[in-house]
Subunit: 304 residues, 2 copies
């Protein structure tokens, strides 16, 4: 909502207004209760939320604050395993953010190429897609997508699937974390990670391994100064943004952990939230969109 600043931020449900459907919209428009996202979340039960798995959660500590990443082992099991290995060896501690390209990504890694892999692997299979099996959780979005036959959410991650090709994959929305690679598809073992900070670069889907998403602390990464070199790399090492250390949450004393819960995406509550965002029904909106882009679906996080 783009209110003027003097306004209250109260959301008041208004009568359902004009519904607009376009060719790309595949869902039949059914009468939906006129609820706002705030109302949907207020009515959510304890079972609608889940804690993060500490073994699949990374804390990236920068001077400006902590960035919490949830890994996606269902989609990139080898990368998740290798990343935890790298983290536990202290691979990232003292490295730096090397790149911040406006409306695209930030990226960190070993600028001087001095770190050793230790027990971690230097090459990994290209986990750009995964086999679409019956057990893959998938809450399909009711709207069509330009980049994939179907999009939706899998365990809280924005994802796509292609039944004909028998594939599923994570998609490049704001906050998604991937493993940078060279032209060689197996050259991205997780030693350089990037995070999407701009409009979703969906052209990267299926071309690189997404390994998780930032669930807290995006503002720390998104506000980093943009690099002035090619592709947004910082031209002077003095501009590099230090990474104090990276830890697996499971290795962090309980009292120092970020106690976060994320909204489950396989629930009626989540589907109501999607509908609330497909058609905004507060007094400010004049024309509900009747559609939502996969990367515009909020993935709520709360402190437990």
């Amino acid at each position: 909502m783009i209110e003027r600043h003097l306004r209250t931020s109260a959301f008041v449900p208004a009568a359902a207004a004009l519904l607009v459907l376009h060719a790309a919209s595949v869902a039949a428009e059914t009468p939906a209760p006129a609820r706002t996202m705030a109302e949907v979340l207020a009515a959510a039960g304890a079972d609608d939320w889940r804690p993060l798995d500490p073994e699949q959660t990374l804390y990236v500590e920068l001077d400006a604050g902590r960035v919490v990443i949830e890994l996606a082992p269902r989609f990139a099991p080898e990368h998740a395993r290798n990343l935890r290995q790298l983290v536990r060896q202290g691979y990232f501690d003292g490295l730096a953010v090397l790149r911040s390209q406006d409306n695209f990504v930030v990226q960190w890694g070993d600028a001087e190429g001095k770190r050793t892999l230790g027990e971690a692997r230097g090459r990994l299979p290209p986990e750009f897609t995964t086999a679409l099996t019956a057990d893959l959780p998938f809450t399909r979005l009711p709207d069509a997508d330009g980049y994939a036959p179907e999009v939706g959410h899998s365990n809280g991650f924005p994802a796509a699937r292609d039944a004909r090709a028998g594939q599923a994959w994570l998609v490049h929305c704001y906050g998604m974390v991937g493993a940078g690679r060279d032209n060689d598809p197996e050259s991205g073992p997780g030693t350089e990670l990037y995070v999407v900070t701009g409009h979703s670069p969906r052209q990267l889907d299926r071309n690189v391994a997404l390994v998780g998403r930032v669930v807290q602390g995006m503002e720390v990464l998104a506000t980093l100064p943009r690099g002035t070199g090619t592709l947004g790399f910082y031209e002077q090492p003095s501009r590099h943004v230090p990474i104090r250390r990276v830890r697996v949450a499971a290795d962090v004393p309980a009292g120092e952990r970020s106690r976060l819960e994320v909204l489950r995406t396989d629930t009626a509550t989540f589907q109501a939230l999607v509908e609330a965002r497909r058609n905004r029904r507060d007094e400010w909106y004049r024309v509900p969109a009747g559609y939502i882009d996969i990367c515009n679906v909020p993935l709520p996080v709360r402190t437990d």
Copy 2:
């Protein structure tokens, strides 16, 4: 491209690889020359570029640098006129950015409500859409869109049109500038402006007047600290980000102007650029998308 940092950034055209078409794609896939965006731009002629009209260009001066906004009088003539009036009265000078909401917008205006409108108007017609007339420039994107029947570019602005409704409108991509309003549709005279700094909030389309776009200086706005209050407003006035002054470029001595040119969007060069981005053909990409979202189309700017 998410290269690892040691790599060169050279783009080398590769043989056209697997083309993927989805239901939402309406264009027939025709063989296209395998050119990269860099190659397309290198081959562009002088006529492919146009200067900004100084009378339709605003300079917003912040401590961190200048933000250059191109107004869109074809879509929001009353807002463009009122904005120039406000600017020329010094309405914005000494005001501040009041809001920075992560993955959404920054917004500035008169926090204390002390400025007077002078010769400017306090209410304006809701220029959320414009009549779709035959003279409206429109280079249609070959791909479908979820939010509108057709999307494309009009004089360098991302836009949509609906022939049946007889309407056209600007769309909310990264860098677009709009006039915040209250629930009253006529309450957004341009005294509070917002700029999109996150994933395109297309649900705002047709709900608020877009008045232009930032053609240079987005990094200044996008890296502002996020506000911690509701909707990203800064909670303490001390956090407000001062706006030194705003000027119409035509009022600025020639030597102090930003000499920018933007790529025309009604040219074969632009269409080649779109195709180069729909299907990336360098050695890094394994799977060309075969599609492009309207907000992923680059709108190149250069210094003349």
